[in-house]
């Protein structure tokens, strides 16, 4: 094996590399900037008290690390899914390589190696871009007098941490995403039949069982947290466990949960042929459509969760507190915290959106023969565009809808389990900040339309003759 030329193994394509690079760069830039902001804030807060910097900084760093973890988690999911989508689309090529004697493990190793390279380049680029952005921002902030002119240090050893985490997680994500390579049999190159989607052939009962168990256990813990929260703020610990368990279950079982939701949304979009074909496509590829959407579900869930928790907390306090000035103070504090948290989590949602857009683009690219056939049979360019738009809308609406629902549930459970006893017991209905809902819906629309611009142009320009000729 060792003597074989490595050029034989090219399972990952150019199409997804750009997106993976962008995701790695975004995550790394986010991590670096967040740590730098933390350091600047610590310097500002502690002022001249040099001894105090350490304590403030370590507290802020803890918070920063939490949000970096979320961003890295989301970007890992996005990268894993991008790699898996590319591999699913290249089943035939991989099978051909296997047929002529390349081993599956070699093929997979090549994918992971590429992941490592993409992760390293992306992380470094992101770190440099982030630092430049931060340096510029700092100059402006000092010049305009927003913050005092102190001795800020932007470059510190800690910055290596996010960069390293992004490199390792991209590498790991490529490795995980490429496990399907192992299931490609050389026979798949021989079959003259339509491409059988690789994922459909795989049933994973163990994974399904684990997902269901996690969700049930998580919901029980959440309920326990809410009940215990009536008498003690330690209810939140139960709630936290419940949230982590159930959410992990949801992510693991997304291929069971997303398809029915997508179907529901698809029905709502109408019954004309482009919509029907779009719906059929996401139905027949449950793995792919849930992969494309789960990152966005996570992002929206987190944003909504914090917002609903804050608003519900505010409402509980309003019921419990008599003094209007205390109420106003609480309200202001909640407002500021939520704004900061939304921006921090919003960044993860952005990374997830990159993943979804890329997934749609890849899916169109991989279906050019099918689109060519439809064009030959009399599908107009406009109908092709409508089909892709319907698919994009379906995914965005499903992801944001589920995210909102989950976020409201989690946010309410968090507020109840943490503050239920403080507010004097009793359950309040979840308070939903409607501005957030409107913003999410607007964002969904922009995302859904924006995601289709490039793929739709490419799809419409597919010539039926060339698409059908390409073997």
């Amino acid at each position: 094996m060792s003597g074989q030329p490595k050029t034989q193994m090219v399972p990952a394509g150019h199409a997804g590399r750009g997106a993976s690079l962008l995701v790695a760069a975004l995550a790394s830039a986010f991590g670096v900037v967040l740590l730098q902001v933390t350091s600047v804030l610590a310097t500002v807060i502690s002022g001249d008290d040099v001894a105090g910097i350490g304590a403030v900084k370590s507290a802020l760093t803890m918070v920063a690390v939490l949000f970096i973890t979320i961003a890295v988690y989301v970007s890992s999911i996005v990268t894993t899914n991008t790699v898996a989508t590319i591999i699913a689309g290249r089943t035939r090529t991989i099978a051909l390589m296997r047929l002529i004697g390349s081993s599956a493990r070699d093929q997979r190793r090549a994918v992971a190696k590429e992941g490592l390279a993409v992760g390293a380049v992306g992380a470094v680029l992101g770190a440099v871009a982030g630092t430049l952005l931060m340096a510029g921002g700092l100059q402006i902030a000092v010049a305009t007098g927003v913050i005092p002119d102190l001795r800020y240090s932007l470059l510190e050893p800690l910055l290596v941490l996010p960069v390293a985490i992004v490199v390792i997680s991209t590498w790991g994500a490529a490795w995980t995403g490429s496990r399907r390579v192992l299931t490609v049999s050389p026979m798949q190159a021989v079959g003259a039949a339509q491409e059988l989607s690789l994922e459909e052939a795989i049933r994973r009962p163990a994974r399904n069982v684990i997902a269901v168990v996690l969700i049930i256990a998580g919901v029980l813990f959440l309920a326990g947290g809410v009940i215990v929260g009536q008498v003690s703020e330690y209810g939140v610990l139960l709630g936290l466990v419940g949230g982590l368990l159930s959410f992990s279950g949801l992510v693991l079982g997304s291929h069971l949960i997303m398809p029915p939701i997508l179907r529901l949304v698809g029905r709502g979009l109408g019954t004309n042929t482009p919509v029907m074909l779009a719906a059929a496509n996401s139905q027949q590829h449950p793995e792919r459509s849930s992969r494309a959407t789960i990152g966005l579900v996570i992002g929206v869930t987190l944003i909504t969760m914090f917002a609903v928790a804050g608003a519900t907390f505010e409402k509980m306090m309003e019921l419990a507190m008599e003094d209007p000035s205390v109420r106003a103070a609480i309200s202001e504090m909640v407002g500021i915290s939520l704004a900061v948290i939304s921006v921090l989590v919003g960044f993860s949602a952005l990374i997830a959106a990159v993943g979804m857009v890329n997934n749609l683009a890849l899916s169109v690219l991989q279906r050019s023969r099918e689109i060519g056939l439809l064009r030959a049979l009399g599908f107009t360019g406009r109908q092709v565009r409508a089909m892709i738009m319907a698919e994009s809308l379906q995914m965005s609406v499903a992801a944001v809808g589920l995210g909102l629902a989950l976020g409201i549930l989690y946010g309410w459970a968090a507020a109840q389990s943490l503050f239920g006893s403080v507010a004097g017991g009793g359950l309040v209905a979840p308070a939903v900040p409607w501005l957030l809902v409107v913003l999410c819906l607007a964002g969904t629309l922009v995302l859904a339309v924006g995601a289709t611009l490039v793929p739709a142009r490419r799809a419409v320009s597919v010539s039926p003759v060339t698409a059908l000729a390409a073997a």
Binding site: A193, Q194, A280, Q284, L373, L374, A376, F379
Partner: protein, 253 residues
Amino acid sequence: METTPATPGLAARVTALTKTYGSATTAVTALDDVSIGIRRGQFTAIMGPSGSGKSTLMHIMAGLDTASSGQAWLGDTEISGLGDADLTVLRRRRVGFIFQAFNLVPTLDIRGNILLPFALDGRRPSSTETGWIEQLIDSLGLVDRLTHRPHELSGGQQQRVAIARALATRPELVFADEPTGNLDSRSGREVLALLKAASTGYGQSIAMVTHDPIAASYADRILFLADGRLVEDRERSSAEEISRIMLGMEQRA
């Protein structure tokens, strides 16, 4: 040729058709001044060696591709001047297609694939059309396959679905490009017999591109292309005769 009862009208024709690919220096002439008429109600085979321009001719006649010069008509409609939108509607309503492979939309089941031309046109089949489709499904032996997906069918079964789809709207002309190219000889013969039956049974006009002399022997008429030109025009012939003509063409080349 136009109006005598013995010669039926033309389902499609091309005059002085030329198609070149590439720039002036690297130009490939795929079709060189071709004039052909496809007779209504007949099963016509288009034969010729690889690269002789068969697929190119079919694509232009079907409104999938445009010619460099010359005219193409489908029935009484000149299609050489039509834009993409008009050609799209024309393909949808007036012609049927059977390709060598990848004929079916993988995400739709068999019934969905057969009904696709109606769906693309945004309508449901009328009750007469439904009756016709049921009859097609029955005669093509697809009754208990309707809810399957394409990849669950053999290559021959997939081609039969493509035939059902192509015949479902009773188009003016069905184009088939190597419809048996991917099939073993038995399934290939079945497919050819079905096409032949559609032509003799109810006068479906069919134009079929093929390499295979046996496939061409099912046709009422055989047109031979070589180097982008029409070189022979034969009435129904046996596979042996067709082979001889092909062999002669290859030796001359």
